[in-house]
């Protein structure tokens, strides 16, 4: 009972800590924009450097979608709907969600361990002593970089995924190319695209916030930074899936 209470208290404390941190971080986001080169560097770090893994994963997820979708749809004799099924699946679900999970593993862990090591080697303290707020100089550009990079990565993921689905469905399984694209064009609306963009923006805020928060508050030891990195992956993944359900329900 006492142990359970401790866990709940710890969870509430962390939630409160993260919320306060988010508010302080948001207050520093505007000043951080006055140093655009820091922001560009972070968009490059979290975004451009994740491109290869995002494109590869997108291709394979799209190809699997092509195979499974074709297998399922042809049982009902409606394999011409493959384009629509792949597009909706990628835009609304797989694009934002898988991108967020990959982001947490690739960019989130890098952010957490980088900031955690800066903490452990007194770099953040040194900045404070030099009257430079590390929230503005270190945390805010990394957070903003993640928030901006996530929707772009998700878009790339979906486009490559569609290409993969088309590759399998049309080239391999013989679905008519014209039908594949025209059905998609007719059925997919702006609302579906918006849902994907909103989701990836929300996931971007959540994953970047967790990564920066965990790094910033990591215990300044080797074990502490390792633990913080693990927590980033676990918390980001679970929160992404939870938020995905909430947002899906909201958009229905």
């Amino acid at each position: 009972m006492a142990a359970g209470g401790g866990v709940v208290l710890g969870g509430v404390r962390r939630l409160g800590g993260t919320t306060l941190f988010l508010l302080r971080l948001l207050a520093q986001c505007l000043p951080a924009l006055s140093r655009p080169h820091l922001l560009w560097a972070q968009i490059y770090n979290t975004g451009a450097r994740s491109l290869i893994i995002i494109m590869l994963s997108g291709l394979f997820v799209g190809m699997v979608l092509g195979l499974q979708g074709y297998d399922l749809l042809q049982r009902f004799g409606s394999e011409e709907a493959l384009g629509t099924a792949a597009a909706l699946g990628l835009l609304k679900e797989l694009g934002p969600v898988v991108t967020a999970l990959l982001f947490a593993g690739r960019a989130g862990t890098a952010l957490t361990s980088e900031i955690g090591l800066m903490r452990a080697t007194d770099q953040l303290t040194a900045m404070e002593i030099m009257a430079v707020d590390p929230l503005r100089y270190v945390a805010a550009p990394r957070f903003l970089g993640g928030v901006i990079a996530m929707p772009l990565l998700a878009a790339v993921f979906s486009v490559i995924g569609l290409f993969g689905a088309q590759l399998i469905g049309v080239q391999l399984m013989g679905v008519d190319k014209g039908v594949f694209w025209s059905q998609m064009q007719a059925a997919v609306g702006m609302r579906d695209v918006t849902e994907g963009i909103v989701k990836s923006l929300v996931f971007g805020v959540a994953c970047s916030l967790i990564a920066v928060y965990e790094g910033y508050n990591a215990e300044p030891t080797a074990a502490g930074v390792g633990l913080a990195t693990t927590r980033t992956v676990v918390a980001s993944s679970v929160l992404t899936l939870l938020l995905d359900y909430v947002l899906t329900a909201a958009f229905l």
């Binding site: 303290t125 040194a126 002593i129 009257a131 430079v132």
Partner: protein, 259 residues
């Protein structure tokens, strides 16, 4: 500092500390490991605030200052960290230029001249292009010193500046601390446990023990002191008021109980 009390995790670090640093002088703060020397520096720079008592910096109570005022205060201070604390994603030049770029809008040629003169002062102008990971410990500390003085602070704080230095770097840092003080009139606070090195440069010194100032005065006065705590620290003996052993159960009893 007047009657400062501070504790970490329920363990009291300071119990009524009184300490004064005079303008334009080198003040040494000595004490065995774990007496809170680093905590003291965190109090002075306003990173933490005292539970009781007052910490005055430039005549103002640090605890009553707003964040903005504390930042303004810190711009008048420079601090040299034990491990240098250089920013690992910037090269040596940019590390030294960092405070200048953050706090001023000086044109690039001026920034360049300013940084190069400071690097020249620590003998590392040739290392401007290197990354912090490529520097030895002594070099990193010299770069950090160049960074600490680039904004021409009124007070310079050194946290354990002599730890792990070879004799050449050590002599160099000692001379630099002295020069910086004599030539530029920078008030210097040196925190260390290297009695010999400190004695050669300090004007005033304080010895901390048990959360209080155990002794104060010129280094020569401290060396001549007959207080047991001071004698133990200066002669480096394990026997004396400061226990070498952490509190433990009876030695023989514990050994035999495990067998």
């Amino acid at each position: 500092m007047r009657d400062v009390h501070y504790g970490i995790g329920g363990r009291p670090i300071f119990r009524g500390l009184d300490l004064k640093v005079r303008r334009g002088r080198i003040t040494a703060i000595m004490g065995p490991s774990g007496t809170g020397k680093t905590t003291l520096l965190r109090l002075v720079t306003g990173q933490i605030s005292a539970e009781r008592g007052q910490v005055l910096a430039f005549g103002r109570d640090v605890a009553t200052l707003s964040t903005r005022e504390i930042y303004a205060l810190r711009r008048r201070m420079g601090m040299l960290f034990q491990n240098g604390a250089l920013l690992t994603d910037l090269d040596v030049f940019e590390n030294v230029a960092f405070p200048v770029r953050e706090h001023t809008d000086l044109p690039e040629p001026l920034v360049r001249r300013l940084v190069l003169t400071k690097l020249q002062a620590v003998g590392l102008r040739g290392a401007a292009e290197l990354m912090p990971a490529e520097l030895s410990g002594g070099m990193a500390r010299r770069v950090a010193l160049a960074r600490a003085i680039v904004m021409d602070p009124e007070v310079l704080i050194y946290d354990e500046p002599f730890v792990g230095l070879d004799p050449i770097s050590l002599g160099f840092i000692l001379r630099l601390i002295k020069q910086m003080n004599r030539a530029l009139g920078i008030t210097s606070i040196v925190v260390s446990h290297d009695v010999q090195e400190l004695s050669s440069i300090a004007d005033d010194s304080y010895l901390l023990s048990g959360g209080r100032v155990a002794a104060a005065g010129a280094p020569a006065q401290l060396a001549a002191s007959d207080s047991p705590a001071v004698r133990q620290f200066i002669t480096g003996s394990a026997e004396g008021p400061v226990a070498f052993h952490y509190p433990a159960p009876d030695y023989l009893g514990q050994l035999l109980a495990d067998a």
